[in-house]
Amino acid sequence: MRITLTVNGEDHTVDVRGAESLLHMLREDLALPGSKNACEHGECGSCSVVLDGELVCACLVMAADAAGSTVRTVEGYADGDTLHPVQQALLDAGGVQCGFCTPGFVVAAAELFDENPAPTADELREALAGNVCRCTGYGAILRGLESLAAGTAGSVS
């Protein structure tokens, strides 16, 4: 069936393949491979997107159910060459290693900061417990986001 939806501000009309997930559609039909496929079961957060204003796992959204919806993916956060503050904070803190979890963290953290500009460390941990990282041990990610919360995000000393 054919659906229309808006992704990162652009309208798209897509022929949905059966019960495929929104993640699959973003990656394969819309040339937006930024959202990742680490588990496709909602257990890792690497496919985090914002659907109609809510942070969700795109692997758990049936693409057909996104008809008429608005989606924001990781590709929709930087403004040209200017990184989103969450992206800049993670970069500066050394919070990127292999990068596979990174898009999910960008989206989840950006949404958190939108709602709560000064989260505590515990609030960060709980809000991001659905984003698994295997490389960093979360330390640099936490430090980067804590600096952002404190308004002190900048280069690592």
């Binding site: 069936m1 059966g18 019960a19 909602g42 692997c59 758990l60 057909a64 159910d65 417990a129 659905g130």
Partner: protein
């Protein structure tokens, strides 16, 4: 594949009445996982996300489409506590109480709260009208409910008067994003009437009725009574051994968890 997006309940029910085999989709957190396990792809999906009536929440009547996120931020108590433990924020934004109920997994996190509070499941169909099904008649087995063809879960209805205290706990192997090994809800009314419901220890949510009877008769239970209470709970649960946990651990942990939740109810204070 055909996917319908009804915007009101009557349209949704009509679609389901015309094709009772259709896949009903709310948050997708169970349905999409099932599909990825190789279950045959549906030919007809009825997506409920846009049915505003299902998101209504009026006092004890919680629309099936209310998400864990809203429940988590709702009135403090066992239901909010249980909802906070579901998955991750991503899951909680999408998953719904109606989905938890309709999926009827033995590990469903809201189920012990529903059982302990003797909530009812409101179901509706185009041709059969609205029914209020007691929880104990709704959950009939592992992932099996008494939903009739053409019926949708439309709400979970908690009693107008909730017990004075209600506490929830969930045991898993890490501190977030777990399917429970054991979960429990304990409620205690002002007159001492106590309800104890557990999840993941039987095919459906289990009320430990003997433990309840024993402790309800004790307005001010001492250490011996609390120990006896825990022992009765351990005796009454019917856990299995699977890759998540052993029968012996679940039996032991049931008693410990139920006792702690009861102690919180008795404390009168917050945690």
């Amino acid at each position: 594949m055909d996917c319908e997006h009804p915007h009101d309940l009557d349209t949704a029910l009509a679609a389901l009445a015309d094709d009772p085999e259709a896949t009903v989709l709310a948050g997708g957190t169970d349905v999409m996982v099932d599909l990825s396990f190789g279950h045959p792809h549906p030919s007809h999906v009825i997506a409920l996300r846009r049915v505003a009536e299902l998101t209504e929440w009026e006092r004890g009547r919680i629309g099936a489409g209310v998400t864990y996120r809203r429940l988590e931020r709702g009135p403090a108590g066992a239901l909010a506590q249980a909802s906070r433990t579901v998955g991750s924020p991503q899951i909680r934004n999408a998953g719904t109480i109606g989905g938890n109920v309709a999926t009827a997994s033995p590990a469903g996190d809201t189920l012990p709260v529903i059982a302990a509070c003797d909530a009812a499941i409101e179901v509706a169909s185009r041709d059969g009208g609205v029914r209020l099904v007691p929880w104990s008649e709704f959950f009939v087995g592992v992932k099996r409910t008494s939903l009739r063809p053409g019926e949708l879960v439309t709400a979970v209805v908690f009693p107008e008067e909730m017990p004075a205290r209600h506490e929830f706990g969930k045991i898993g192997m890490r501190n977030a994003m777990v399917i429970s090994m054991v979960s429990a809800c304990v409620t205690r009314a002002a007159d001492g009437a106590t309800a104890v419901a557990l999840g993941s220890v039987a095919p459906t949510p289990l009320r430990a009725t003997m433990a309840e009877a024993m402790i309800s008769a004790r307005p001010d239970p001492d250490e011996a009574a609390l120990a006896e209470f825990a022992r009765l709970v351990s005796d009454e649960v019917r856990p299995i051994t699977d890759h998540r946990g052993t029968e012996a651990y679940r039996r032991h942990a049931s008693g410990v968890l139920a006792r702690r939740l009861l102690e919180r109810c008795l404390d009168g204070g917050g945690r």
